[in-house]
Amino acid sequence: MPLDAIPVVAVPPGLRAGELSGNAPALLREIAEMVRRLLSSGDVSAIDLQALPLTPADLEWLREQLGEGEIAVTLNADGESSLNETACPGVWWVTHRNPKGAVVSEFLEVAFVPEMVKAQQDDVVIGLEHLELLISDLS
């Protein structure tokens, strides 16, 4: 029996995957405010998309509105994460996945470069030690 033959609806209409809840457009204004803050004071900020009552259709709408930018970063750390710039430079769509590929958290980050993309000081130190080891092996 196909699923849609069962006359019980777990997710009510208006909140179904294909329908907009009307909550997404307000986010555009908030993002614009965050970008203004980034330009004036350099403050980075983020919106936790999972904390908001957004349907998959809302997210899709938002993604379409913001568009795709020039940079797409893939991070392989305990599952794959993507940090993609939108068509609005400085606005990043960040999706974290677990090793099984399920989305564990999703953010809109407003920053020149997301913090997580930068190499961390201590990781760089470890990298330098590794380089020195490579060099010492040369001779």
């Binding site: 006359p7 609806v9 936790d48 999972q50 904390a51 750390a77 564990v104 958290s105 913090e115």
Partner: protein, 363 residues
């Protein structure tokens, strides 16, 4: 970002980016602002290293092991497993390999070695009836054990509704004289993590907070962490729009139920229940009671068991006298047989006992 914990994790192949990702996700689950993720990563990274892992002692009292079952399901993000490697779980009857005298030895050794510093987790209520004889471990009543172990604890986590409020053993008429941890221990910081059982992520989240900041999180009037128990089920419920529109399911198989309308009239306790089920969900975010079509029982609230029937709507409190009057009036109007009156009495007695069957719901 550096410190003993991050060094330990780095040795296990965890990069700082992985750690930041974990903290960002944890902050999201704890309903904290996104900026908190970075702060957590910083604070957590400098937590104590493996050489001095904080000792955790877990005492089970009058309980069903459901809370233990729940926490063992929280390991699927592998980093939470790592966090647990960072804690030294020195006594947990169900999970530990040792038994009998060896287990008791482990308990006392951990208490002596970490005096004043260990975290005590308690699940289950403490029976005071018959001098505590209803529940004993190693020949000692739960009351004596709790007092003894609590003395050297830095803080106590009351895990589940039994430890937090007395729970089901405390339900009227409370035959064993069950009480909560906070009824007995008055001189230690106590954090309540109620729920029957609590959500796994909430349990590990609170422990992570203890590791992160070395202190207990901000609590509400029932001693619950506000991060998880700050909002009602109703306020974060995906069926909330139907409540606002006045669309309610009246029975479990009517049009409204099939359309996924609000379960308020079927007794959902969402409006008065503070918990994170609506956002964190269960079984790795698969679903939660309301999503599977049943109202909230209110299991994270004190005395939820004695709340007047799981299927009675909140706005219609149980009133056996009124029901009895109605039944008697029906009998009088019919002007007949004793059997009728008896039936009325029976239904009045039934409602006075707060047992509600599906047939009662259809009245």
């Amino acid at each position: 970002m550096h410190g003993p914990l991050i060094e330990t994790l780095a040795r296990q192949g965890v990069t700082r980016r992985t750690f930041m990702k974990y903290c960002a996700t944890l902050a999201s689950m704890m309903a904290l602002p996104p900026s908190a993720g970075r702060a957590m990563a910083e604070a957590m990274a400098s937590a104590p290293a493996a050489s001095k892992r904080p000792s955790v002692i877990w005492l089970p009292f009058q309980e069903c092991t459901g809370c233990t079952e729940s926490i063992t399901r929280s390991h699927s993000p592998t980093l939470e497993g790592l966090i647990f490697d960072v804690i030294s779980l020195d006594y947990q009857e169900t999970l530990m390999a040792a038994a009998g005298h060896q287990a008791e030895e482990a308990l006392h050794a951990a208490m002596a070695a970490n005096d004043g510093k260990y975290l005590l987790i308690v699940d289950g209520s403490i029976p005071l009836g018959l001098d505590g004889a209803y529940s004993c471990i190693a020949g000692k009543s739960n009351l004596d054990t709790l007092k003894e172990v609590a003395k050297g604890a830095a803080a106590i986590v009351a895990m589940g509704s039994c430890a937090a409020y007395g729970g089901l053993p405390h339900a009227n008429p409370n035959p064993t004289g069950a009480v909560s941890v906070s009824d007995i221990i008055k001189d230690k910081p106590i954090i309540n993590i109620p729920g029957c059982p609590p959500i796994p992520t909430v349990i590990t989240g609170v422990l992570a907070h203890f590791l992160t900041f070395g202190s207990l999180p901000e609590l509400d009037q029932h001693g619950r962490p506000k991060a998880f128990y700050g909002e009602t089920i109703h306020d974060r419920c995906y069926r909330r729009p139907f409540y606002d529109q006045g669309k309610f399911a009246k029975t479990f198989d009517d049009e409204g139920a099939r359309n996924g309308w609000c379960l308020f009239e079927l007794g959902c306790k969402g409006p008065v229940t503070y918990n994170a089920c609506a956002t964190v969900k269960w079984n790795g975010g698969t679903s939660w009671p309301v999503e599977s079509g049943h109202g909230c029982l209110g299991c994270s609230e004190p005395d939820f068991w004695d709340g007047g029937g799981f299927y009675k709507a909140l706005s219609m409190p149980a009133d056996p006298l009124k029901l009895a009057g109605k039944a008697a009036a029906v009998g009088a109007a019919a002007g007949v047989a004793v059997s009728f009156v008896n039936r009325g009495k029976k239904s009045a007695a039934k409602s006075a006992h707060e047992t509600t069957t599906l047939a009662d719901l259809e009245k």
